[in-house]
Each structure stands twice: as structure tokens, then as C-alpha cells.
């Protein structure tokens, strides 16, 4: 290949981020749903707090409806999936028609899940299967390692960010951080899609400390957000 | 025959940095039997690698690309031309017979043409052109700032005011309504500190110049930089650039004088 445009670099990164956001959002909401079944019905307010939001929903049902299927809610799985598709549709040559079709299929299946009478977890299973198939396509059909790695960097950044935001335990966060570092180490030198080393140092310092990121979540989130910011202050656009 | 020394420069300044700046300049005088260039120099600053091609109308196009950030673009030409209008120019194109975006008449301009044509006692293209030029001068007031480079003949005629470009477009429109081929000439004229625009009429065998803004024949005091169906084909400089600039300022100066 060798002729990715600058614009596509960003698109690939955000394709990885949004697709991962769909998946992790679904998984975390399924766990939350389980808690909502028989324990604290106000559990979801904690989830909202992780994103700095207050309860405008009033009921767990309305909350779940909005965070899974609400296209207007920018924290929802449906919203993220549309953004993933938006990025994917201009990357057909890089990721293949096959992979793109799985994103379309995931959107269709999410709509079906919304109308389904089955339990939430069961009705969302086909969506998750489809996302796994999408990743299968990326691993199998994208020959260019650099392209593949940009997508995977986006995926790893997103996974880590959500783990930190949702206050997952330190062990898990460390594992996801290691995964991110492995992807970062594969980025060739002298390529415009370099990570920002200053931000990486901040992450290493905090995440590898004894308390992991406890109490310093905001610093980690800021550093993660800036990890792929352009170093020279121009050139790349932000999504 | 007259020997003219000419110079022309424009300074384009932006209020912020611009980059990826593509430009196309039509600033090399047209070489023709009536206009022979004996010396020519051109300079562009900041330095840009350029290439020359010749467009469909016979103009030399100097194109370039400045990728790096810059805040100005200056270019300058100078040289010596021998002008001899007794030598016929015969580079005809059929498209010169047809109206363009700039010259397409509206009802008012068509009416004015019909009225003028009825009054005209000449049947030859040049005679008609001279007569129409006189009629246009009676109708249109020379005034700067009323029209822009986008104004069409019909719009300028409606405003009853304009500059050389508008006079030329109105005359082109009227001649084409008679089916007479004619073209726009852009360049330098004596005693004019900027660029000038006028008309050439096809008399059946060759091109003859006429300057409707001054209502007189275009004689050997005129230097043609570019020619085409209308102003749109002749723009001396055109450019596209990127950046956060909000304003651009263009300063033009030109000089044309007879030398021994």
C-alpha cells in the first residue's frame, strides 16, 4: 500500500477508538444491568458520575435505553457505532468492504436488539458477535502492519480510557496499559502518527505507581486524550 | 511602429500566514505579428518553482505552488515591446462569436442593442464597434467601486456605471448580438497606472483593437498581456490558498512608455 493519506491516519485511529467504545460500553452496561436486576436500583447514577453527568433519566430503564440505543446521547453505544461507521466508510480501501459490512450489520443488529423481546444481554449478543467479526476482518484482511497498528492503538487507548473512567481495578488497568505500550512500540520512527512522549511519561509515572491511578484519574484521562495530539501544533485535524 | 518599455508589479499581502498556495499568472505579453517582445524579465517572490504552458487563447500561463507558510506574494515583469498594428493578427477561434457568462445580455441590454443597431449607419464590424462604443459612453459613467470583477455586462448596464472591464463586456455583448466575433484584451495602456481592459473586433480577416472605456481605437500605446472571450479567461493573477487569513491586500503598479 504505502500511500495512506494524512487524513486517513486520523480516521483509522478514531475508527479503532469508536469501535472499541461501542464494545466496552455494551459490556460495562451489561454488568450494570445485572446489578440493577436485584440490588441497588440507583446503581446507574454511579455510572453517570464517572462521566460527570447527573441523573436526567429517573429510571434505570430510561437510562439503559438512552445509553445503549439513544443516537442523540453521545455516550451511547448507538452513537459511537455511527461514528465508527462514519470513519469506516471513507476507509473502504484500507479495511475492505467485508469489514465495513460488519459495521453496517452491527448497526442493523443494534436496531433489532432495541425491538427485541428477549432479555437485554441475550438481545445484544448478535451485536457483540458482529463486532468480533469486524476485528477478525481487521486482523485478517489488513496486510499493512502500520495501518493495522494505528487502528489497534486507537482501540487500546479507548479501552484504557474507559477502564480508568469506570474505575476498574488497578490490575486490569495495568494490563490494558501494557497492551497499549506494546502497540505504541510498533509505531515506526519518522512517521507522522507518533505518540507524544511527554504524555506517555505522565501515564507511565501514574499507572505504574503503587496506587495505580487512584485519585489521579483526571490526570490520566487528560494525558490519554493528548497522547496522539500533533506535536508540532499543526498538520493533523482532530476528529 | 512604436517601441514601448513596460513594467508591471503586484504585491499581494495577507494578514496571517497562508500555505498550500497555488497560483496561475497570465503576465507574459502575448507574442503576435503586431506585438513583438524584444526583452522580458519576470520575478516572483518568495521563490516558487514555476512552469509555463500556453492556454487555448494563446496566453502564456505561469503556474506555481507555495507549500510553505508565507504572508505575501509579489510578482513583477518588465521588458521592451515593439508594437506595429499595421501587421495583421489572424488567430481566430469560433467561440469568440458566442456570448459567455460575462457577456450574456438581459432584456434591457438587448433593447439598447436593438436601438443602437437601428441608428448605426455602418455595416462593417469595426464601424459598428466604434458606433456602439460611442453609444456606450453616452450611457455608462466611468466610476470605480460601483462594480466588481464578478459584474456581468447586463449588471453593469443596469447600474449605468463601471470601469474598463464593464465597458468592454458591454461592447462584447452588443457585437456578439450581431454575430460579430470579438474578444477581451487585458494589459497595459499608456497613462494608466493599473491594468486595463479593452476589446478586439474581428473585421473578417484580422483583429482590430478598440478601447470603449476611452471611446477610441486601441493604437500602438496598448500592450496585451492576455486575451480571451471575456475577463474570466484573462485574469492576470488567480490563486487559491489555505490559512486563517481574513484579508488580502493587493497593490498594483504599472508603467508603459515609449522609448526611442
Amino acid at each position: 500500500m504505502g500511500t495512506i493519506s494524512l487524513e486517513h491516519g486520523d480516521r483509522l485511529y478514531w475508527l479503532g477508538r469508536y469501535t472499541e467504545r461501542v464494545f466496552t460500553t455494551l459490556k460495562s452496561l451489561e454488568r450494570l444491568y445485572d446489578k440493577l436486576i436485584d440490588r441497588d436500583p440507583k446503581h446507574y447514577i454511579k455510572y453517570l458520575e464517572c462521566f460527570g453527568l447527573s441523573d436526567d433519566f429517573g429510571s434505570p430503564e430510561k437510562f439503559l435505553q438512552s445509553f445503549i440505543f439513544g443516537r442523540e446521547n453521545c455516550y451511547s453505544a448507538a452513537y459511537s457505532l455511527e461514528r465508527a461507521y462514519d470513519n469506516g466508510i471513507v476507509l473502504r480501501e484500507e479495511i475492505s468492504t467485508e469489514a465495513l459490512a460488519y459495521l453496517q450489520l452491527a448497526m442493523d443488529r443494534l436496531e433489532k436488539a432495541d425491538a427485541s423481546k428477549s432479555g437485554l444481554v441475550v438481545s445484544l449478543l448478535p451485536v457483540e458477535d458482529t463486532i468480533f467479526s469486524f476485528w477478525g476482518c481487521i486482523y485478517d484482511y489488513v496486510y499493512d502492519e502500520e495501518i493495522k497498528n494505528i487502528i489497534l492503538c486507537g482501540k487500546a487507548v479507548e479501552r484504557l480510557e474507559l477502564c480508568v473512567r469506570l474505575k476498574y481495578n488497578g490490575e486490569l488497568i495495568n494490563r490494558e496499559f501494557e497492551r497499549l505500550c506494546r502497540n505504541l512500540s510498533k509505531i515506526p520512527k519518522n512517521t507522522p502518527y507518533r505518540y507524544n512522549t511527554e504524555q506517555l511519561s505522565v501515564l507511565v509515572e501514574i499507572i505504574e505507581s503503587e496506587n495505580c491511578c487512584k485519585g489521579r484519574e483526571n490526570q490520566v484521562l487528560t494525558a490519554l486524550g493528548k497522547l496522539f495530539d500533533p506535536v508540532d501544533g499543526k498538520g493533523r485535524k482532530t476528529a | 511602429m512604436k517601441k514601448l518599455q513596460f513594467s508591471f508589479s503586484t504585491k499581494l499581502t495577507f494578514d496571517d500566514y497562508v500555505h498550500d498556495h497555488s497560483f496561475a499568472l497570465r503576465f507574459t505579453p502575448v507574442e503576435s505579428p503586431a506585438q513583438h517582445i524584444t526583452a522580458f524579465g519576470a520575478e516572483i517572490s518568495p521563490f516558487a518553482s514555476t512552469r509555463n504552458t500556453v492556454d487555448a487563447f494563446g496566453n502564456t500561463v505561469t503556474s506555481g505552488f507555495l507549500q510553505k507558510e508565507h504572508r505575501f506574494l509579489d510578482f513583477e515583469i518588465n521588458g521592451i515591446a515593439e508594437i506595429d498594428i499595421s501587421k495583421p493578427k489572424t488567430d481566430f477561434m469560433p467561440c469568440y462569436r458566442y456570448q459567455t457568462h460575462f457577456t450574456k445580455p438581459d432584456v434591457a441590454l438587448s433593447e439598447f442593442h436593438r436601438f443602437s443597431a437601428e441608428k448605426c449607419s455602418c455595416s462593417d464590424p469595426y464601424g459598428k464597434a466604434m458606433f456602439y462604443s460611442e453609444k456606450i459612453s453616452e450611457q455608462i459613467r466611468y466610476e470605480k467601486g460601483v462594480t466588481t470583477i464578478k459584474t456581468t455586462a447586463a449588471e453593469a448596464f443596469g447600474l449605468k456605471a463601471g470601469v474598463c472591464q464593464d465597458y468592454a463586456h458591454i461592447l462584447l455583448s452588443m457585437l456578439r448580438m450581431d454575430g460579430i466575433p470579438c474578444r477581451y484584451a487585458a494589459g497595459l495602456a499608456c497613462c494608466d497606472g493599473e491594468t486595463h481592459g479593452w476589446v478586439e473586433v474581428w473585421d473578417g480577416e484580422k483583429w482590430v483593437g478598440i478601447d470603449p472605456a476611452n471611446d477610441r481605437p486601441a493604437n500602438e500605446d496598448y500592450l496585451i498581456l492576455s486575451q480571451g472571450r471575456d475577463f474570466g479567461d484573462c485574469a492576470i493573477d488567480r490563486g487559491v490558498m489555505f490559512g486563517a487569513y481574513t484579508k488580502q491586500l493587493q497593490l498594483i503598479s504599472s508603467k508603459l512608455e515609449e522609448i526611442a
Binding site: 493519506s5 459490512a101 | 487563447f57 503556474s63 477561434m93 487559491v240
Partner: protein, 449 residues
């Protein structure tokens, strides 16, 4: 040309290839959509697919193929002539003002010779079949004809959904389109990569642009990643370098292609592309200025062009056409307006088409006056009694008007793609089949025997 109603055609049962719902579901999944703007909002719509294929027997196709090659070759000769010697005008075959008043004629292209003198590399020729099975040419599209991707992906999916329909049925595989397109681009290429220029994902045909890029291995590009330096067209690459583009299959209209030569306010063009093109450093597919040859007014003259340039009798007929510009034709048109179809030469996409029979007496009279005032603006045609095709609707078959857009590719040789886009009208009373007006499409099977 009258193409015989062959036994092959009759003996073959015309049945749906697959369940319409299943195929349309697959098409949706594979993103086979076109974008439209409705009330200022961008929406993507499925292009409805009808599972009953149009079948063209081998004998029929041979005739169509020969006729199309002849026509496109003559049109390419015409374009070269118009932008150079203009012999066809000087010899009085085509009146001068039909050429120069045409909005598709671009004087800026005078004297430019595209690689191999090919102007129309990808021609979309619209045909209809009359009740007597004879084919008529309705329209030539030599600028940016779209639609090849739809039957292409539909075939891929219908073969997967109902392999039995294809097994042993002697249907020519149409999936060679990408190969034909790539050969065409490679032949025109002036050194460098092939690229497909799209206005972006909100363009109606974006699916096609990206799908063809993927299949041909061409880079899918937008103007903001391209620039012209030293009269060479480059793509900015990810690593900060530049890659030379040798052939640009552009899916943007002429007037927006270079803001320094054409429409100065164009935001989707490439400044100085015209200089790179004139210098012979990049092939533009299709060439600029082709609009002069697919103008509805020039259409009338295509059979004359075939005789003039090739010395051959036209194999395919035009629909009977009258030019109000000629006195004799004008009289006929004014007298018979109520039975004719009138087309505004400046309009496209099914707009500006008026059927005389739909007008009342006053509207007819107004229209007559318009024609008298602006004779050059219109052409008039006899309404062809179309051969209707069966369409599946609510489980039953109904008959609808349909046309066929055939794709002719001009590279080292002129070739006709053994398939095409069959579009049909979903409205029983309508003759207009354009996708922008709610029509659907069918696969087109060309048989090998």
C-alpha cells in the same frame, strides 16, 4: 436494428433469482446505498433491487455490442475533431452554433490532446427496447456516468444467495468490470498511480467511488490531499511525502475541477490541474469538455457522425428525434406537440422532460411559444412504446418501464461490458427511471450462447 426475438429468450423461464427481501438485506449490509438530500438533510437510501433479471441473449448482445463500439468510437473522433480541426463543422455536417452554444463545450480545452486521443474512457449509453424488441439509443453519457457498481455487487450477492440460478445457465460473469476499468486507467496512465477523485462521502455515488477504488486498487482521493507542483499532480502521503498520480478517474464535474481555470469558487477542485493535464503529465478520465458530445442537441447528429468519421451505417438507431432549430422539424413539433416528448437540452437526471400528452390546451400553446422563442433549447422525440419488464411487487409480478445503461470502456480497444444497469420505474405511469426519482434496478444477464 431489429434484434430477433430468439427462441433462447422465450424458452428460458424468467424467474426471480432469489428472495427479494434476502437480497435487499444483503445489499443493505454491504452498504449499497446512494445519498440524497431531502429538506436539507443528508440521507442514505437503498437502491431497490428487483430479483427478476433482464436477460439479453447472446445474438442480441452481439448486435448491441457492435453498435455501441461503433457509436463510442465515432463520439471519441468527434470530440477530437471539435477541439482540433473542426472538420465536421467546416464540412457542414453539424451546425456551428450547436457546438459553441452547448454548455458542455469548453474552449479552454481547445488544442489539448488527451493520451491516445481518447476523450470518453467510460461511456454510459442509455438504451431502451421497443415493443418490437428493437433497441434505441436514448442518451449518451460521456462525462461521469455512474451505476456500474450496482449490478457488479448485486451479481456477487445473488450468486451467493442462489447459486442454482447461475449454474449451467451460460450467464457471462460480469465481475470483470473492475479489471476492464483498471486496464482502461492503466492504458491512459502517464506514469504514477491511478486515483479516483470523489467529492466526498456525502456525494450520491460515494458507494460506487469507494467500491471501485477497492476493486481496482486505485487510491480514493479528495482534493485536500492533492496538489499540483511543477505541473505534476501529487497526492500528499501519510509520511509527509508525495506520490505522483498518472491517471485521475474523477467523479467531479468539469466546471468544479480546477478553480483557477473554471468556477473560481469551487471548493472540491484541484488548482492548476488543467496545467498538469495540458502538459500531458496526468490523464483525466473522462477527459474535460466531453459535455459537447453528449449534449441532447448533439445527440441528433450522432448517426451522421458515424457515417462521417467511420464511413459506416449506424448499427443502433436513435429514438426518432426532431430539432425545432430546423424549420421543417419545428413545424412538425408544433403541430404534433401533444404526442411528443420534449427535452430541455440543459437538464439531466430525468429533469426537464415533458410529455405533450400531459399538458392541457393552454399549457401546450404556452409551450409552443417557448419553443418558437428558444428553438435551440429543446429536442422533441416520438414516445417509444417501451417493452415493459416484469417487476416483483408485493409478491406478484407487475410490468414496468425500464431502460438499460450499457458501459463502454475505451482503452487499447473499445470494449462493452457484458452486463449493464437496468433501471426501472416503480410508478406504473412513469417513463422516468432515474434512481434520483425513486427508480430501482435489476441485474442484466448477458448469455454466452
Amino acid at each position: 436494428m431489429t434484434i430477433a426475438d430468439t427462441a433462447v429468450c422465450r424458452s428460458r423461464p424468467v424467474t426471480p433469482v432469489a428472495d427479494a427481501g434476502e437480497i435487499n438485506e444483503l445489499l443493505r449490509r454491504y452498504g449499497v446505498k446512494f445519498g440524497i438530500y431531502k429538506n436539507g438533510q443528508f440521507k442514505e437510501q437503498l437502491f431497490p433491487f428487483d430479483p427478476i433479471p433482464r436477460i439479453i441473449p447472446a445474438e442480441d448482445f452481439k448486435g448491441i455490442e457492435k453498435g455501441l463500439i461503433q457509436r463510442v468510437d465515432a463520439l471519441n473522433r468527434f470530440l477530437y475533431d471539435i477541439y482540433h480541426e473542426k472538420n465536421i463543422i467546416n464540412d457542414g455536417i453539424v451546425p456551428e452554433n450547436f457546438v459553441y452554444i452547448s454548455s458542455g463545450y469548453l474552449p479552454q480545452c481547445e488544442g489539448i490532446t488527451p493520451p491516445n486521443k481518447i476523450y470518453s474512457h467510460i461511456s454510459g449509453i442509455d438504451l431502451v427496447q421497443g415493443k418490437g424488441k428493437e433497441w434505441y439509443i436514448l442518451e449518451d453519457n460521456l462525462r461521469i456516468p455512474s451505476g456500474a457498481s450496482y449490478p457488479l455487487i448485486a451479481r456477487e450477492l445473488t450468486r451467493a444467495a442462489s447459486p442454482a440460478a447461475f449454474s449451467g445457465n451460460d450467464i457471462i460473469d460480469n465481475r470483470n468490470y473492475a479489471k476492464l476499468l483498471k486496464e482502461t486507467m492503466d492504458f491512459a496512465n502517464r506514469g504514477g498511480i491511478n486515483a479516483i477523485l470523489t467529492p466526498g462521502r456525502y456525494n450520491a455515488a460515494y458507494f460506487e467511488h469507494s467500491y471501485l477504488a477497492e476493486l481496482t486498487g486505485a487510491a480514493l482521493v479528495q482534493n485536500d490531499e492533492l496538489f499540483v507542483e511543477d505541473n505534476v499532480l501529487y497526492q500528499k502521503t501519510y509520511s509527509g511525502g508525495k506520490t505522483k498520480i498518472g491517471a485521475l478517474y474523477r467523479r467531479i464535474s468539469d466546471e468544479y475541477l480546477d478553480p483557477l481555470t473554471f468556477e473560481p469558487t469551487s471548493l472540491i477542485g484541484i488548482p492548476n490541474l488543467m496545467e498538469a493535464y495540458r502538459s500531458g503529465n496526468v490523464a483525466i478520465i473522462n477527459a474535460l469538455g466531453n459535455g459537447v458530445a453528449d449534449d441532447k442537441g448533439i445527440y441528433y447528429f450522432v448517426p451522421k457522425m458515424i457515417k462521417y468519421y467511420l464511413g459506416e451505417e449506424p448499427i443502433l438507431k436513435n429514438a426518432p428525434t426532431y430539432l425545432p432549430f430546423y424549420n421543417e422539424d419545428r413545424e412538425y413539433v408544433l403541430k404534433n406537440l401533444e404526442k411528443l416528448v420534449i427535452k430541455d437540452v440543459a437538464e439531466a437526471g430525468g429533469y426537464g422532460v415533458v410529455f405533450g400528452r400531459d399538458l392541457d390546451e393552454k399549457a401546450l400553446e404556452d409551450f409552443r411559444q417557448t419553443i418558437i422563442r428558444e428553438p435551440r433549447r429543446f429536442i422533441a422525440q416520438e414516445v417509444i412504446d417501451f417493452l415493459d419488464l416484469p417487476i416483483l411487487e408485493n409478491g406478484g409480478e407487475v410490468m414496468r418501464k425500464a431502460d438499460l445503461r450499457a458501459f463502454v470502456l475505451s482503452g487499447e480497444k473499445t470494449k462493452v461490458w457484458a452486463s449493464g444497469l437496468t433501471r426501472f420505474s416503480r410508478n406504473p405511469d412513469s417513463f422516468v427511471v432515474n434512481s434520483s426519482q425513486g427508480g430501482g434496478f435489476k441485474d442484466t444477464w448477458v448469455l454466452s450462447r
